[in-house]
Amino acid sequence: MKELLIGNAAVARGLYEAGCSIVSSYPGTPSTEITEFAAKYDEIYCEWAPNEKVAMEVAFGASLQGKRACCCMKHVGLNVAADPLFTLSYTGVTGGLVICVADDPGMHSSQNEQDSRHYAKASKVPMLEPSDSAEALEFTKFAFELSEEFDTPVFIKMCTRVAHSQSIVETSERVVPEAPAYEKNPSKYIMIPANAKKRHPFVEERCRKLTAFAEESTLNRAEYAESDFGIITVGTCYQYVKEVFGDDVSVLKIGMINPLPVELIKSFAEKVKKVYIVEELDGFIEAHVKALGIECTGKEMFSNIGELSQLAVAKAFGKEVPSHIEVETAVPGRPPVMCAGCPHRGMYYVLAKNKITVLGDIGCYTLGAQPPLSALDSTLCMGASVSGLHGFNKAGGKGTEGKTVCVIGDSTFMHSGITGLVNISYNASNSTVIILDNSITGMTGHQQNPTTGYNIKGDPAAKIDLETLCKAVGINSVRVVDPYNLSECDTVLKEELQKEEPSVIISRRPCVLLKSVKAKPALKVDEDKCKSCKMCMKLGCPAISMHGGKASIDATLCVGCGVCTQMCKFDAIKDGGEQ
């Protein structure tokens, strides 16, 4: 059947058709929908793991059992899972094991734009990179065969444009291969030095065999034309090259980015007068081609920063580009903002008001870095707020402990905040950790996590109790506050900062976008009472603005959270339900 699917849904379809039985992942844009779509197939067991390392190890266990398994993550998630990855390369697999990793060139929603292809090379694991949804489906299915044939995990590498673009796919039936019965195999699976020393030569031999495979495989495809020069390209860049040149230029389309073929590239280079390389981010193919002693042009012409496009390709090759109108009127930017009624806002206001130094983390709450709240001092990677706070306080001592906190979301705390808290407790820093518990993984589009009490299917699940967890790792002072109550937040914050021991404040309110959260009637401004002091504007709530010198509340956005009511000294903000 012909269907229009985003790349991520096509990968999920590929998992289904290949008979994959287990998917364990941690969400992250642009990879999240693979697992969400996979979870719609009842035949596949799917779960949100607490982090990517756990997810990859779950997939390992399932493969050991003989079943086809998969884990999905965004590029930075692969950093977290790098430890199992490198040794998984040694053990190899029993059931096929596919690792989907999605890069985000252009950083549509990421903190860096690292190039995952280096991981494939460094861990000696093959990597396939589709250029549209049809290939995403086909390559995913094929990855399992490759995995089982060569005894290796296999990467499917996505990027934002392939992951989030719909194109046409042809679907077929699910076929589940028979799983071998589990057999103990210590020399393959117990990676102690004696065994690992024997597996390493296997890995090197596998690389040689895979390179030979790459020479012949239809994953890599030369399309010859009557052109002087030829282009080697991969993934979404192939589409840009075709958009600009159509069938007028010789193209070597790489589908298997690791290991790269040698003879195929040499013979392509011999047939053209000049070789160009079009790839996003680093010059990965370029380095390989140059190492073969072939002259080529790549990153001299194309940036290694951000995304490429048909326009970037056309410009680089000196082709005419379409003209366009200029707009002279200044059009203000529209950055993403914390929603009206977002429970993170109240706590941020209290932190900003008290001029607290705040080590931040990654989630919707990172938006608190923007004016007018400007509440954050740092954001590095998931979990780094808690461990960073410990370091900050150890280095700063008494001078900083009483005026510094960290903020971390519930999902991020379970991902990698808890280990930092163990460190605070064990190595005793007088640190104050604030968990912004909105009962969901917000930023990536509402995934369940171990603290929400539901699993990926929305069925009831064990609910990790944050208070008990924090106490269990040795934090005696654990307080819960309602971020809609500014004075409570203020009091508790001051008390905990003054204490001579580590503490955790759980700022708890479910995300207003959750279906289970019912909005209250929109609030209203009494214009006669409004003195235009703009105190309410300090919250950065998108529902509040100044109109004709008076504050005004947009009834379509306001959910009646009442935080602004507490800001107004003149009692000008009224409950919408009263009137």
């Binding site: 642009p30 549509h108 589409q239 048909q310 200044a330 059009v331 930017g333 529209r334 990536t444």
Partner: protein
């Protein structure tokens, strides 16, 4: 020939539903189709853009400056932001609704009230109050479908086909309301 349509607006205005509708429709008309969506961050009230391209064979899923046949804007100033993406002879279809972005809310910038006047001097602009029409259809959320109805006037695909595709992409209990929104956009005249 590949045709390119951009759907632009503010996160939360339902551009995904609009692009799903277009995708389904164009697929059933036998075209090669690519639809590039945005997910993640942009849900949170940021500026969002979706690209829809169709024709005999479509390669790139994205649209750049000077190449869109239509820019369908769900909000007034967003029409100005994305107008440079229009190709020569292209058309802007826009909602006249204003949604203040944060820099306007905080007073750091001014809302460009007169943006459409400038655009009218440069390109073809078809502007309508889609919010009022959506409310007339039964829900302020149907702005997206009103504007798709407006786009239907230009694409040359029989109107019944739009209705058919709409019935597939929306939940059964919202079908009637959305069909009305589609027709209000389609039949709107100044």
């Amino acid at each position: 020939m590949t045709k390119s349509i951009m759907i632009v607006g503010v996160g939360g205005q339902g551009s995904l539903l609009a692009s799903n509708l277009l995708g389904k429709l164009l697929l059933s008309e036998g075209y090669d189709v690519k639809v590039s969506e945005v997910h993640g961050m942009s849900q949170r009230g940021g500026s969002v853009v979706t690209y829809v391209r169709f024709g005999d064979k479509v390669y790139s899923p994205i649209i750049e400056e000077g190449s869109a046949d239509f820019v369908v804007s769900f909000e007034k100033l967003e029409a100005g932001r994305w107008a440079p993406f229009l190709k020569e002879g292209g058309t802007i279809i826009t909602n006249t609704q204003q949604i203040d972005p944060m820099p306007v809310v905080t007073g750091a910038a001014e809302y460009p009230e007169a943006i459409l006047e400038e655009l009218r001097g440069k390109v073809k602009v078809d502007a309508l109050d889609a919010l009022t029409l959506a409310e007339e259809a039964g829900s302020s959320k149907a702005v997206n479908i009103v504007l798709m109805g407006r786009l239907a006037k230009y694409l040359g695909i029989p109107y019944e086909k739009w209705e058919e595709a709409l019935r597939v992409v929306v939940k059964p209990r919202f079908i009637e309301m959305n069909i009305k929104a589609l027709s209000l956009g389609y039949n709107y005249s100044e």
